[in-house]
Structure formats: C-alpha cells, structure tokens
C-alpha cells in the first residue's frame, strides 16, 4: 500500500435511493470527509443502497466512519443496503460494528465541584502533614539508634556523601561567596565614603557575611545541588523497586539512605560555611583595598576588634540545622514519589522549594530568638 498514491475518501449521493463510497477510507484520508458528513443532507427515501465497491483501502478509522454513517441512517428508520464491499473490509466493518455496539462509552470524569476540591486539598494537606511528622519521627529514631550503636552507621555511604555533597561543592560555593563578598563591599563603599568612615567596611562585610549571608547562601546552594538529587535518587529507587529490595535484604532505607546523608551534610555544611566565610571576606577585602584604600593589614587588624567570635559561631551553628532540613526534606519528598516518571520531577522541584523555604524560615527564627537573648 504505497501511501502517496491513495485518494481521499469520498461519499457521493447518486440519485434518490443510492450513494456510493470510494477512495481510501483510512485514518489519514477521512478527516475531510468526516467534517463534510456532519453537514451532509441525505435523500428522503426510506431505503438506500450504498455502493462500496470503489473503496480501495480501509482501516479501523474508515470502518468506524462507515459504520457511523450506516448506523446514523438506520437510526432514522431507514433501510440501508451495503453492496460491493471487499470481503476483507467487510470483516473489519463487522468487527467495528460488534465493538461499537457493546463498547462502554469511556466515562469522562466530571469536573469536581469547588467544595470537593477544597475538601480534597485539605485532606491532602492533613495526610501530608501526618506522613511528614511520621518521617521526622522515624528519622529521629534512626538517629538515636545509630548513636547507641555507632558501628551500625554506614560509614562508606557517609564518606561518599561527604565527598559528593561537601568536597565537590567547594568550587561553586567559593565562587559565589567571593562574589557576594565583593558585592556587599562594593555597595557599602559608596555610602561609607560619603561619611568618611571607610574602615567600617570591615564591620559590614565581616558581621553580615559570617552571621547571616554565608550560612544562608551556602545552604541555599546545597539545597539546590544536593537536596534535589536526594529526592530524585530515592524517588527513582522507589519507582524501580530498589527500596523494596533493600527492605527484603533487611536493610532499612532510613539507615542506608537517609542517616548517612544527614550526618554527612551536618558535617559538610558547617565546613562549607567556614570556607564561604573566608572566601567572602577575602572578596570584601579586595574591594576595600581597591575602592576604599583600606589595606589588607588595616582590614585584618580592624576585623579582630570589630567582629566578635560569636558571629562566626552563630553562623556555623545554624549550618547543621540547615543541613538536616535539606536532607530530610529531600529524602521525604523522594519517599513520597509514587510510580510515575513526572512524579519524580514534581517532587524534586518541591524538595528544593520547600528546603529553601524552611531554611529561610529557620534563619528568621534564629534571628528573633537570638535578639531576645541579646546576642
């Protein structure tokens, strides 16, 4: 059946009692005819003869259309006699007729009412909250268990995670922190010069970076970099039943997958934060000397008296909390994935958004609590 040489399907009314069908009644050739048939006016006669001998090709689509023509006419109480259809097409038509007679119409799920939607959304939130809480409890239990028996910790997975999520993040964290330090110093320089208080650039850069910006920027970067990969990894393992395989081998996914990551990132993120502090301050220092003629020696001397140790410690102290948030959110979203491939994509996105959201929330929370204590 060479596809190009085929003719469009045709149906022409010939006289008061007859019509003929011709051409190739295949899916690619009946689209025009189908539209045409919707507005076709038929002869009034109660008996019609259909000459189908010039139909050269027919597939299921064509058979469905012909069957529709015939059954529409018969529903109007007319007799239609089909003549000349080739035997192989007759069989196809018969098959279509029996199926369309018994086929259940595909039930289109109706659009739910707004009340139903609200209820559904609420219920989803509630069950999600409950399962998140259960996950948190389960991971806390796993953590306590591992403290009781440190040998049970998967050290190789932990070190692997340290390498991938910590060591390999150093270049990007360094570059971004450097740029952030540069930007802060640069933006501050303008204002400080107006008042002739150039040396305060050290306070500006030092305190803001060490206490707030470095931990936050590092955590956000790691959330985007590692949190998403946790979700995707665990989700894919779930889809491919690897999680079930782990369970049947007597290995808890919590112990094998989640715990090493929590521990590793709780170690890696503070270290990354310190690294970000150093590089960021260095960036500020470069701008200070270039724009504000504060030499490196002056900068470092001022740094020692202006930036108290507590700022560094507060910044680093937040990092393990951020790390736990990132890992737990990423892994939780991974476990939430059910079946589908686009579920993996969706939950990966959610994991990043939620992790960043929670990190910033907790950062704000820390600020408020620390200001109560006046530190």
């Amino acid at each position: 059946m060479p596809g190009e040489a085929q003719q469009e399907a045709r149906l022409s009314i010939s006289g008061d009692h007859a019509f003929d069908c011709a051409g190739s009644w295949t899916m690619h050739r009946i689209a025009a005819l189908e539209q045409d048939l919707a507005v076709r006016s038929w002869p009034k006669a109660t008996t019609l003869a259909c000459d189908a001998s010039r139909i050269t090709a027919m597939d299921t689509g064509g058979a469905v259309l012909l069957q529709r023509v015939l059954s529409d006419l018969r529903k109007q109480g007319r007799q239609v006699e089909l003549r000349g259809l080739k035997p192989e097409f007759t069989e196809l038509l018969k098959m279509v007729a029996t199926h369309s007679a018994k086929a259940l119409p595909i039930a289109g799920a109706g659009r739910p009412s707004w009340l139903e939607l609200v209820g559904l959304a609420t219920w989803n939130r509630v069950t999600q909250g409950r399962s998140a809480l259960a996950f948190l409890g389960e991971s806390a239990l796993a953590l306590f268990r591992s403290f009781a028996a440190p040998l049970s910790i998967r050290w190789s997975a932990l070190f692997r995670s340290l390498e991938v999520d910590g060591l390999q993040a150093i270049p990007i964290v360094g570059l971004l922190s450097f740029l952030v330090g540069v930007v802060i110093a640069y933006q501050g320089a303008e204002q400080l010069r107006k008042f002739g208080t150039n040396i305060f650039v050290v306070d500006l850069v030092g305190i803001s970076l060490l206490r707030e910006i470095s931990p936050l920027v590092t955590a956000i970067l790691v959330a985007g970099r590692s949190g998403s990969s946790y979700a995707a990894q665990i989700g894919t393992m779930k889809v491919t039943e690897e999680l079930d395989a782990l369970r049947t081998l007597g290995l808890g996914p919590m112990d094998v997958l989640v715990l090493p990551k929590v521990l590793a990132l709780s170690i890696a993120l503070p270290l990354l934060t310190v690294f970000a502090d150093v590089v960021g301050v260095f960036g500020g220092m470069l701008i200070a000397s270039a724009q504000l003629s504060v030499t490196f020696v002056e900068f470092i001397a001022r740094f020692e008296e202006a930036v108290a140790l507590k700022h560094l410690l507060i910044g680093i102290g937040k990092a393990p909390v951020f790390a736990s948030i990132i890992v737990l959110v990423g892994c939780y979203q991974g476990f939430q994935i059910r079946g589908g491939v686009d579920d993996v994509g969706r939950h990966t996105t959610i994991s990043v958004v939620q992790a960043i959201f929670l990190v910033i929330m907790f950062d704000a929370f820390f600020s408020v609590v620390l200001s109560w204590w006046r530190v």
Binding site: G3, Q35, T60, V64, L65, M95, S100, I106, R338, V341
Partner: protein, 266 residues
C-alpha cells in the same frame, strides 16, 4: 500455518550483512534476514544474542555499525526526515515494559498517536480508541486509569492497543509474553494471531518464549554468535542438526513446548 506471500513480492524488511559493535563488544557480526508481507516473523536466541538490538535497528532507534536495513524496500540509513516520519507512521512498536506515558491515562496513551498523526475529530478518535482497547483485550472500564495503577499484563495490553492505534502495516513486539503467566501468555498469542488476520498485519517479534514460537510464528530466525544460526519454520529448525539449535529447541522446555504445540494441532 501457511501465510506465505506471493514469490514476486519484495520482502517487507530486508536486513543484509548487518554488523553492530558497542565499543569492543561485537553484538552482530553478520546478520542477514528477510521478512515477508503478512507473516509472523520471530527473532529468537539466547540472552545477549542481540535480538532486541536488531529490533531497535530496524525501527531506527539504533544505527548498525555497517550493513543495510531496508524497510518497505527503502534503505533506512538513507532516509530523509520526512521519509523516516512516514515510515514510523506505518509501524507500531510495543516495548517490553510497555513504555506507556505515565502522565497519561490508558485512553490518552492510545489516543496520542491518533491525535498527533491524523486530523480526525475527537469523537471519532474516541471511538477508534475504544475499539483498539477492546481489540487488545483491555477492559474498557479501566481506560481512565494511569499506567502505574495497572498490573503487568494489563500494561502489556494497553501498550499493544497503542501500538496498533494507527492500523500499522508492520507491528513490532519486543518480548510480548515475557513475564506473563502461562494463561495470559497464550491469551496474548491468540490475540496477536487474531489481530494479524483482522488488520492484515505483518508482525516481527522478539521472543524466547518457545510456546509463542510454536503457536504463532510462521518463520523464526535464531540469533547467536553474532550471526543467524538458523532461519525457517519451527518444524525445519527443530529438525536441524546444528548443535546450538538442537540445544535451543531440544532442551527440556523446548520438548515440552513442542509436544504441546503438536497436540493442539491434532
């Protein structure tokens, strides 16, 4: 089981001297075979003999290292984009694990090729979908389900429905009965037989299900050692003296499948 084509008609698929290498691993050294119009052609062979690779080369998902493959008389290596598209429309492929789009329901999966490749109205497409779903033996009440809600056998049927959605002339089945229970597997064989007859299909299937080979294959090519070890009807192949073929067909499973097949014929 004769569905022999007229001798004058050129073969639908012509694979000649195909050689495939992945790095240092040689999958096919020299594979040549022909598929005639209207037959059920099976590609058999042990694990790793390159059955699926050959199938993927015929359906243009892989390019062989050397050699030519002609489908509908045209060399697939020299086709333009438009020709490739035209060829794809005339072929239906059922993948081993279904490869249904997981974000679409079964009905939407089957409708997808119709929506993409034809200009038919929604109502007509829906009617065609209903028929294809029924032909594939998929329960009509489950068409609104998503693939991950289906069992393996149901997924297979849904995949078959999608593969035959456009009434292809050539249907490729990759391990259609692997992992199905014996009842479902023989049901699937019957289904394929019926469809071949009804829609005038030519079927190329990769399988190592000996029951399937006996039940529905008109001709079988057994791959191994990078070449075609044997090609012919099951009767011919099972009488062959080639030691590797004998091992393949006369193992305990081979004998049982043959006995069952001959008993059915009586």
């Amino acid at each position: 089981m004769g569905y022999s084509a007229m001798p004058s008609e050129p073969p639908l698929i012509e694979v000649s001297h195909v050689c495939t290498r992945f790095g240092n691993a040689v999958v096919h050294e020299d594979v040549s075979l022909e598929v005639r119009r209207g037959e059920v052609f099976a590609i058999a062979g042990g694990n790793g003999s390159g059955k699926s690779t050959l199938l993927r080369e015929i359906i243009l998902l892989l390019t062989p290292t050397s050699g030519t493959i002609k489908v509908f008389g045209r060399d697939v290596g020299r086709m333009t984009r438009a020709e490739v598209l035209g060829l794809r429309r005339r072929c239906g492929v059922m993948f081993q694990h279904g490869a249904l789009f997981s974000s679409l329901t079964v009905a939407e999966n089957v409708a997808a090729p119709l929506i993409e490749h034809t200009r038919l109205s929604k109502a007509l497409i829906r009617e065609i979908v209903e028929i294809k779903v029924a032909l594939a033996g998929f329960p009509a009440e489950s068409v609104a389900k998503y693939p991950n809600e289906l069992s393996g056998g149901m997924r297979r049927r849904a995949a078959l429905a999608r593969a035959i959605a456009l009434d292809p002339e050539l249907l490729f089945l990759d391990e259609p009965t692997a992992g199905l229970d014996p009842m479902s597997a023989s049901g699937f064989d019957e289904l394929v037989k019926g469809l071949r007859h009804l829609l005038g299909l030519t079927i190329v299937m990769v399988t190592h299900d000996l029951d399937s080979l006996w039940q529905i294959a008109d001709r079988v090519a057994v791959l191994g050692d990078g070449t075609v070890l044997g090609l012919g009807t099951m009767d011919e192949l099972s009488r062959s003296d080639d030691p590797m073929l004998r091992e393949y067909f006369h193992g305990p499973r081979g004998r049982a499948a043959r006995e069952q097949a001959t008993r059915r014929d009586m």
